[in-house]
Symmetry: C2
Subunit: 416 residues, 2 copies
């Protein structure tokens, strides 16, 4: 997938690479606070410059002036599906299979119930102990109120070891949120299907940055958030993908009026909508959906393959420069092979929390995940090679200048 | 509750009443499109003038500049509880019992499950066929995945006729969304408790306009939306109230990470938060929550009792003037007694859809609910007596000028 590319060996080379970057004009679509190198777009994406104007229009004209007529005239009622299709285009989903709605957690709940309803007689949900915790918590919620059970896979084992004819569904994150390790979604989906189970992908750390191909690999369901690499704004509503072949049969219990076949007939009995809308529930937060629209607008004309290529180059550069500065003592938890990682680089470091605070005070923003992971996310839309070079330098400085380096690190002579 | 007040008998009297209105300065806090009389605030509240500035600040400074630090620094993470407490003050709930989160539909689902968990051995949920449909649909979702059953009450019968020791919970709307009829929440709650069941109130058409007293009447749970009389903006997140005495025992299956006791410890197993936060699930839409904050800001210094008094006066004026113009032929479906109605007036009229379209073309915006209900909502925050007078006149004109009047209405001579 990724061609071997030359890794810049100097700041000058990084500047040249930025000047030649096919995405260089896209960087300007985002607001970047002066003096900040923002490497936390895997937690909250940066603000597209167009968002304030768009929200102003939604508020002043659509809400303030046009009032309730905007449910139709401004397309508010259809936003979950129109935005869903735009995200679908980024994750390899043909139209009509993706909605933007609710939260990742709630969408996981819907998908788990849907998968159980499609696989009657099977009761086991397989997931991974290293999943982002809310995935596991939502499984617990399903387990507590149904006859389902949960088994946790350790990915050092083959996935097949978990799969028998009791397994209804497998829920996994394509990218490990701690280490950035990427799973082979196509191979796993195939094995899950061979065992007669359904595959639910959590794409929180994939959408907008990986070449996801849900239809092609035959995924059954997927969820993900829009506020990371899709830059939809803080807590922006999540997305849910359901393969068309499951639309008729799937049942999920969050059967609110937005999932009704005829919501404005105000009928007494629930009748599910026929397509992807059956995964909608209640009235959706339009202002936050406008943020999702602004985030997608900032990606117009950008090919996911270009994002993936730049993302691999940025993460590769960061690792190479950290290696050069800190040597083997820097314990990089992220796979070195470009095709086995997402768009982040993680370092395991016992004092990582303190180091991250020191970096933030010097203008480099990453984050820390307990117990010992420093995470750096690289959004290829707005991160430059030069920033990555500088960030590695500041990471090195922060580690070198602190007392714990004496015990934990052997400094390289050249750096002193 | 409502003192008998003189109903204005002329447009001049309405102008005088507006000039003397203790809420007259509050009207200016809202944007009202020129030439429009907006009587649909029971569907989507009007836009507070402060919202664009507030959202601009949230976007440009909190998101754009401060980025992830705003989760703490700007209080994003606590918004569900800080906004919840502000709404709590409007619905008679002491702090720590209300959150703003998700949708009314999803919050109903949580409350139903919580009530069932608190009442083991009881399996019946009682509701009303005339409920807003999503309430019934969410009950269906619970029924489909648990051992619960649903029984529908007809409010012409005594509620006691529905209550026995199989009933776990009763879910009712305080205000009927079609007719505006108000139920005696205190008396119903008492009877439900006498039967050992728990009471869940849907306050969608109550919050911000009725003197709700959840703690005093001993309600167990309540839900409601923020985009009607609370003016939080299109699809703004809903609220959920849970009486403190239930916090420890209640269980609900939407156990996402925002409901965890230690969300940022990223633990593998779910441990519910100890207070009202256990009713949170996933990451919340901050831009839409900022709309809720702006809506509440527009109510600062306003006493709910003043809102209720003006609301009763506005609805009374509308009915009186419609009566005067159209006579007994106008079939008003809303109770005449001020204490038995919410803040809307509904007319039953077979051709109501066409009449409403005609009114909208003349600048009076109400709405229509199938099969034959014309609804007019009166937000006392921004609706004037003069607008109500004029709206009744335009309603009369639209009915009088259309062909169906010949068959359906006997015009009063004075109006011709």
């Amino acid at each position: 997938m990724a061609a071997e590319v030359h890794v810049p060996g100097s700041r000058e080379e990084c500047l040249a690479r930025d000047a030649a970057d096919p995405l260089r004009d896209v960087v300007a679509r985002f607001h970047k606070p002066p003096g900040i190198i923002y490497l936390d777009g895997n937690s909250l994406g940066a603000m597209p410059r167009g968002v304030a104007a768009r929200l102003g229009d939604v508020v002043e004209r659509e809400w303030g002036h046009d009032l309730i007529t905007s449910w139709n005239k401004a397309g508010w009622f259809d936003l979950p599906v129109t935005l869903g299709d735009r995200i679908g285009a980024l994750i390899g989903a043909a139209p009509g299979q993706t909605v933007v709605t609710d939260t990742t957690s709630i969408n996981i709940y819907k998908c788990l119930h849907a998968a159980l309803s499609l696989n009657p007689g099977r009761t086991v949900i397989v997931s991974e102990a290293q999943s982002f915790p809310t995935d596991l918590y939502m499984i617990e919620g399903v387990v507590a109120t149904t006859g389902a059970q949960c088994l946790l896979w350790n990915r050092r084992e083959a996935i097949e070891s978990m799969l028998d004819d009791s397994v209804a569904a497998v829920l996994l994150s394509e990218v490990d949120y701690r280490t950035g390790a990427l799973i082979d979604a196509e191979a796993v989906t195939r094995k899950v299907h061979e065992a007669g189970a359904l595959m639910i992908w959590d794409l929180c750390h994939s959408a907008g940055v990986l070449d996801v191909a849900l239809d092609r690999i035959g995924a059954d369901f997927a969820v993900g958030c829009t506020y990371k690499y899709l830059n939809g704004g803080p807590g922006a509503p999540a997305f849910l993908y359901a393969a068309e072949r499951h639309h008729e049969g799937a049942r999920q219990p969050l059967t609110g009026w937005w999932g009704h076949a005829r919501p404005f007939a105000f009928e007494r009995d629930f009748a599910p909508a026929s397509g992807i809308r059956k995964f909608l529930c209640g009235t959706q937060p339009i202002l936050s959906l406008a943020g999702v629209a602004a985030g997608l607008d900032a990606m117009v004309g950008v090919a996911v393959s270009d994002l993936r290529r730049k993302s691999q180059a940025l993460t590769g550069l960061f690792m190479a420069h950290v290696d050069a500065l800190l040597g083997p003592a820097a314990e990089i938890a992220t796979p070195r092979e470009p095709d086995r990682r997402g768009s982040q680089v993680s370092l395991k470091f016992g004092e990582g929390y303190a180091v991250m605070q020191a970096m933030i005070s010097k203008g480099v923003i990453g984050d820390f995940r307990a117990p010992d992971i420093m995470r750096f996310g690289f959004s290829p839309l707005y991160t430059t090679y030069t920033e990555v070079w500088d960030a590695a330098g500041i990471l090195s400085e922060c580690i070198e200048s602190e007392p714990w380096r004496e015990v934990r690190f052997t400094r390289r002579a050249a750096v002193t």
